[in-house]
């Protein structure tokens, strides 16, 4: 608790247009250095929007997003791209770049406007491919590799960016169990090496496997946030998803199952406000 938060949101409210309903309302939480943080919530809860706000892509109507203590605007776009990187949920690539040429694009924030990547950038990219265990893919076309491999390539591009914070939008959404394990263990390892990881998912399992901290989001509001052990409970998860879920401990792990015995309405009708 001694280290100051790397990213801090204070009472953030956001709507895409002034007249539209708020996508996020009064969102506040903080994440600290070298931790894995998971934003958990059903589809449409505002998870991706939250990432875009931290990235500085959108500006909140109310409240403030702080990165390393300073409001996001004070960082400037170029500087921010050396602090925060993003792995998008899915990326359509219209040209058949090789994996290596694609990953080295992550060096852009460290180059001046007209500068081309040099030998150090090539080495950084190669090292990252090795670190993620995908160096044998380097000369393959990004249009030809599997979905799981592309996810690793997108992560590699963000890692090459060498930022303090790594944001990932549903990094495990389209992966089979083996690839999911691989991605999650990479994220765990990155956090161990000092990167602050924040990812969104609608899958509680991913959170349970590696999260230090969990942020529960429902209908644009935070239900609970805090350490995994405190927040990841049967009651909180059921409220988040509006269906009866049950958290079971299996050895050192927590497993979430759908509780088919309980009627769904009981949780479905709960509004986030009433639980705050």
């Amino acid at each position: 608790m001694s280290t100051p938060p790397v990213v801090e949101l204070h009472n953030v409210t956001f709507a895409y247009t002034p007249k539209a309903a708020n996508v996020l309302s009064g969102v506040s939480f903080a994440i600290s250095s070298g931790t894995v943080n998971v934003v958990l919530g059903p589809n449409g809860a505002g998870k991706s929007t939250l990432l875009h706000l931290i990235l500085g892509r959108y500006t909140p109507q109310e409240g403030v997003v702080r990165v390393l203590g300073s409001p996001i605007r004070e960082h400037g776009r170029a500087h921010l791209s050396r602090l925060i990187s993003l792995v998008p949920q899915r990326e359509y690539v219209p040209f058949d770049f090789t994996v290596f040429d694609y990953v080295i694009l992550g060096r852009t924030p460290h180059l001046s406007y007209l500068q081309l990547p040099g030998p150090e950038d090539r080495h950084a990219a190669w090292q990252t491919l090795q670190r993620l265990g995908i160096e044998e893919l380097w000369n393959r076309r990004v249009t030809e590799i599997s979905g799981g491999e592309l996810q690793l390539v997108l992560i590699a591009r963000a890692v090459v960016q060498n930022t303090a914070v790594l944001l990932l939008d549903e990094p495990t959404a389209h992966l089979d169990p083996a690839n999911k394990m691989r991605v999650l263990s990479i994220l765990r390892a990155l956090a161990h090496q000092g990167t602050t990881v924040l990812f969104t998912t609608h899958d509680p399992e991913s959170a349970a496997m590696i999260a230090d901290q969990v942020i529960l989001l429902r209908q644009g509001r935070i239900l609970r946030w805090g350490p995994l052990a405190e927040v990841f409970t049967t009651e909180n998860l059921s409220r988040t998803y509006g269906i009866p879920l049950r958290v079971i401990r299996v050895g050192a792990h927590q497993v979430v199952i759908m509780d088919m015995d309980e009627p769904a309405q009981e949780h479905g009708t709960l509004t986030p406000e009433s639980n705050l």
Partner: protein
């Protein structure tokens, strides 16, 4: 530092050899084109003849050289422009001719001939303004179409806007003086370089040179702009502003060469495809390769246009013929993934 794998270094070396090859080929083609023509007899002017033949020297200097330079600039600009538009619109199927740019420029040129006088600068500015209007219209329309994906919508919008400008050109032709203005306008629609002299080439040289140089310098940014909006943003780019800048550069180069040569189709589509095939989609390699290959392609086409027959075959017909054939060949054997 870790060691890069030898294959990666071999790839760099292969690209370097390819570049050298392209430069040599372009130089060779330029030399060859000087000797190609219909004087003193069809197809060939022997270099041995040059020193003692003032007419031949005059012909080479005043007619063939400016035309050769114009052909190279034309192809280089159209190819670079096509490549840039493909990158920033994330769409391998666009080219200036598909986006209302060329038709807009032709309309602007015809409009200037009719109403603004025939000064080269005025025609060029008018062509540029209408080329930009064409692009903006296509883009705006594509955003409002309710049919198909982004790539298809841009193509459909481009077809519609091009048709509007083509109708406009038709109207201008109808209004034009059949003895003085009409032939000049018709020239834009056929496309060709037969009336190119030094002043025409020198008029477009600064614009095309500047545009190509700046695009070459920003080629790394083109890679970034080819990524999704949010990704480009997360890499520190200002996608909207940077796109606007490179699109503007591409359009002024296109408008300049269109004001010189008329509408020359397919170069901006086929050449970047070939460049990506030969090198990689990475703009560091594919953009300069497009410039070199584009210059070669139109030079060869123009050589054919002026030597094959005693008359002159319009250049646009030859580029369309060869370009469309090459395109069919590439599309049926291609690796690039195009989602309609």
């Amino acid at each position: 530092m870790t060691r890069l794998p030898p294959v990666m270094i071999q790839r760099e070396q292969r690209f370097r050899r390819l570049y050298t090859g392209l430069f040599v080929a372009l130089a060779f083609l330029i030399g060859l084109s000087i000797l190609l023509g219909r004087y003193p007899r069809p197809f060939w002017l022997s270099p041995a003849r040059l020193p003692g033949d003032p007419l031949a020297i005059q012909l080479v200097w005043a007619l063939r050289l400016p035309r050769i330079l114009a052909a190279v600039l034309l192809g280089a600009s159209l190819a670079a422009s096509g490549f840039v538009l493909q990158m920033v619109f994330r769409n391998p199927l666009v080219e200036p001719g598909f986006l209302g740019v060329s038709q807009g420029a032709a309309f602007g040129a015809a409009f200037a001939i009719l109403y603004l006088g025939t000064s080269v600068i005025v025609i060029q500015v008018s062509a540029t303004v209408f080329a930009l209007i064409g692009l903006i219209l296509s883009y705006t329309l594509a955003r409002h179409l309710h049919y198909g994906g982004w790539i298809l919508r841009m193509i459909l919008a481009g077809i519609a806007v091009s048709a509007l400008f083509a109708a406009g050109v038709g109207m201008l032709k109808y209004l034009a003086d059949p003895l003085t203005q009409l032939p000049e306008i018709t020239f834009w629609l056929l496309g060709g370089l037969w009336s190119t002299r030094w002043p025409n080439v020198l008029a477009i040289l600064p614009v095309t040179w500047l545009s190509l140089t700046l695009l070459y310098l920003t080629r790394w940014r083109l890679n970034v702009l080819a990524l999704e909006e949010t990704t480009a943003f997360s890499l520190g780019a200002a996608p909207d502003r940077e796109r606007a800048i490179v699109i503007f550069l591409a359009v002024i180069a296109t408008a300049a060469v269109v004001s010189l040569a008329g509408i020359i189709g397919w170069v901006g589509l086929i050449v970047p495809h070939t460049a990506r095939r030969l090198f990689s989609p990475d703009a560091r390699h594919a953009l300069p390769a497009s410039v070199l290959l584009g210059g070669m392609f139109t030079l060869v086409c123009d050589d054919l246009a002026r030597t094959l027959t005693a008359g002159e075959i319009p250049l646009g017909i030859i580029t369309s013929l060869l370009g469309a054939l090459a395109f069919i060949l590439l599309m049926t054997t291609q690796r690039e993934q195009v989602k309609p």
